[in-house]
Symmetry: C2
Subunit: 218 residues, 2 copies
Amino acid sequence: MGAEYEPTERTRVRRKPGRGSYDRELVHSVLDEALICHVGFVHDGQPYVTPTIHVREGETVYLHGARANRTLGALGDGTPCCLTATLVDELVLARAALHHSLNYRSVMVLGTAREVTESDEKERALRAVVEHIAPGRPDEIRGPDETDLKSTKVLSLPIEEASAKVRSGPPVDEKADLELPYWAGQLPLTRGIGDPIPAPDLTQDLPVPQHVMGWNRS
Amino acid sequence: MGAEYEPTERTRVRRKPGRGSYDRELVHSVLDEALICHVGFVHDGQPYVTPTIHVREGETVYLHGARANRTLGALGDGTPCCLTATLVDELVLARAALHHSLNYRSVMVLGTAREVTESDEKERALRAVVEHIAPGRPDEIRGPDETDLKSTKVLSLPIEEASAKVRSGPPVDEKADLELPYWAGQLPLTRGIGDPIPAPDLTQDLPVPQHVMGWNRS
């Protein structure tokens, strides 16, 4: 397996190709860091874009939801989809309005999802979802039982046709604007956590686990 | 104009309708807080979902980009689109794997975009984009000149067919799981800023402006 995905007519980055990448590790790292993705599909000619939790395992992205979920229903029927995950890293503040931007990392995966019916893979995927949200947590919860598995649908989307797009670095202003008396630069955005809020129906006085106190995404 | 958007067959929230809303103020507030949105459109039967900076002005969302931008090209031709903006607020950590979730606020706008050709509206929209990224900044930059305006395309999408979906509050576990010795609750996610990085080509020793130092999104 090569270090890069093969660009296709559909994934080749045309505008600012310098920002495009087909690097497997980069694609994986964006999918792993992003808590959610946005999935697009078409119904009656109308595109719909839905936010959803995903998780990557190897060269597969898993989605899941209640069996009655409409998006999963549409996707599981083999309709073409586009899964996009985006991380916004910095504001890019230029001297000219035109050159304002964001530094970001984004991944797009095109393909067709299929329902996971094999129970081992399904359980593994659902465990991975919890690990994706809160690393370390799958060992400190109740895993899915038969009823849970029945009511949950898991879809898998192979990462075959994929590309990343990244902007990084300082603003790029026109030469003529460099002398203007306006501050320009990057403003990094950080993600942190607030104080954990214990569930009101906790029946025991349990300490907040380390995987919660130490939660960190970057 | 009512306080709510009229739900349509396409925007009515079916799964967990209690999470659905058509409230104008809520829709506006999510669009305003989200730095970016994801826009979906269809090309040759394939959906594409692209992250992009948006801004709302009244009942219109504006998108912009280089004239050669493929997404804008497709959208400006009157193809149906779906614009979705999502804010992830908290991790929802339940006792059972099945009940893990995220607290979020998401808005979906369906419709058709058109190119803004009227120059006043276009300039207003581009100024609003900078204000969207960094409130207060439009007065401390060089606005678009004739060349900038020519090379930039602005699209407007009316907010007519729109819905919001929100999850908030604690995890909801099964009664039978409440006695399990697992911590459960919400973990708030916060967004902050790091140290501003001055552009390497700054020609003057300018202080970091207040709209940068005090940048805050929530």
